[in-house]
């Protein structure tokens, strides 16, 4: 915890998104991980931000409601292509 300052927390916060998305160079990731080892609050912010993103991800099999799809095709005069969606 010797290098743990509020300044480091703020710097980490600025890079948090890119760290989560795996867009930072390895050297910088190492520095961030070193800081995380000694900073409970930053670790919590990282974990809860990651989980927040997981929770909003959309299920792969989600589809628009059938009636909405039907009205869309009719509105565009494409109802002759309104076959059941595969």
């Amino acid at each position: 915890m010797t290098d743990h300052t509020h300044k480091n927390c703020k710097a980490l916060l600025g890079l948090l998104s890119e760290y989560i998305d795996g867009e930072l160079p390895a050297e910088l990731c190492k520095e961030i991980e070193k800081h995380l080892e000694g900073c409970d609050n930053c670790r919590i912010v990282l974990n809860t931000t990651r989980r927040t993103i997981d929770l909003v991800r959309v299920p792969a099999d989600e589809n628009i409601p059938t009636d909405v799809r039907e009205r869309l095709f009719k509105r565009l005069n494409l109802d002759d292509f309104l076959l059941p969606k595969s």
């Binding site: 703020k10 916060l13 600025g14 948090l16 998104s17 890119e18 998305d21 409970d40 609050n41 919590i44 912010v45 974990n47 809860t48 931000t49 990651r50 989980r51 927040t52 993103i53 929770l55 909003v56 991800r57 959309v58 299920p59 792969a60 989600e62 589809n63 628009i64 909405v68 799809r69 009205r71 869309l72 095709f73 509105r75 565009l76 494409l78 292509f81 969606k85």
Partner: protein, 201 residues
């Protein structure tokens, strides 16, 4: 999310008025565009209007689509514009270009430090929790909300999100971070009340 990225469409056929190709395009993108409308506006009727207007608009302007961006970028741009115009209806001539003038680059500092990730899945994924999440999304300013929806819900790259919204990649990243931080705070307030005291600080 449906897999739209690997599906390709014949621009020539679309521009030539091939209705079957346009129907395929609608099936590929109607789900994410409807969802964008739903999350931006928060209600099904507006989402349906955005969906229909997006494809009507696309159909009308296909002949002028030059292919400088991908068809998906182009469609999302129309949809985002439709959503933003609907949100700001009543204020004149406001569209996607106005996103650029909103400078809010300050990082939102976290205030809640509770590790609610230890909660069981059934609590994290409850209907009530989903409502709390939707409420938190609704509270985001639309300039952050649209970035968050495209990037984190639809998993569109930073580069394409920037192209869709006519923003720089740096700008998209800044807004994404702000949106993520704001939602994390919103969820921390909700889940924090349900987390055992020893995890609270």
């Amino acid at each position: 999310m449906i897999n739209t990225t690997t599906q390709s469409f014949s621009i020539e056929a679309l521009r030539a008025g091939d209705r079957a190709e346009f129907a395929l395009l609608m099936d590929a993108y109607s789900t994410p565009i409807y969802r964008l409308g739903l999350k931006m506006l928060g209600n099904a009727q507006d989402a349906e209007d955005i969906l229909q207007n997006t494809f009507l608009n696309a159909l009308t302007h296909l002949s002028s689509f030059e292919g400088r961006s991908s068809i998906s970028t182009w469609l999302y741009r129309i949809a985002a514009n439709e959503a933003l115009m609907l949100i700001r209806r009543g204020k004149s001539n406001v569209n996607i270009e106005d996103l650029q003038s909103e400078n809010s680059d300050d990082v939102i500092m976290p205030e809640t430090f509770i590790d609610w990730t230890i909660l069981p899945e059934n609590e994290l994924l409850s209907v009530e929790a989903k409502n709390a999440l939707d409420t938190a999304i609704k509270k985001l300013p639309e300039s952050l909300r649209v970035v968050f929806i495209l990037r984190d819900m639809e998993e569109i790259s930073i580069k394409e999100t920037a192209e869709i919204l006519n923003l720089t990649e740096v700008n998209v990243k800044t807004r994404l971070l702000r949106a993520r931080m704001a939602l994390r705070e919103g969820l921390s307030a909700y889940y924090g009340e349900r987390t055992p005291p020893k995890e609270k600080q």
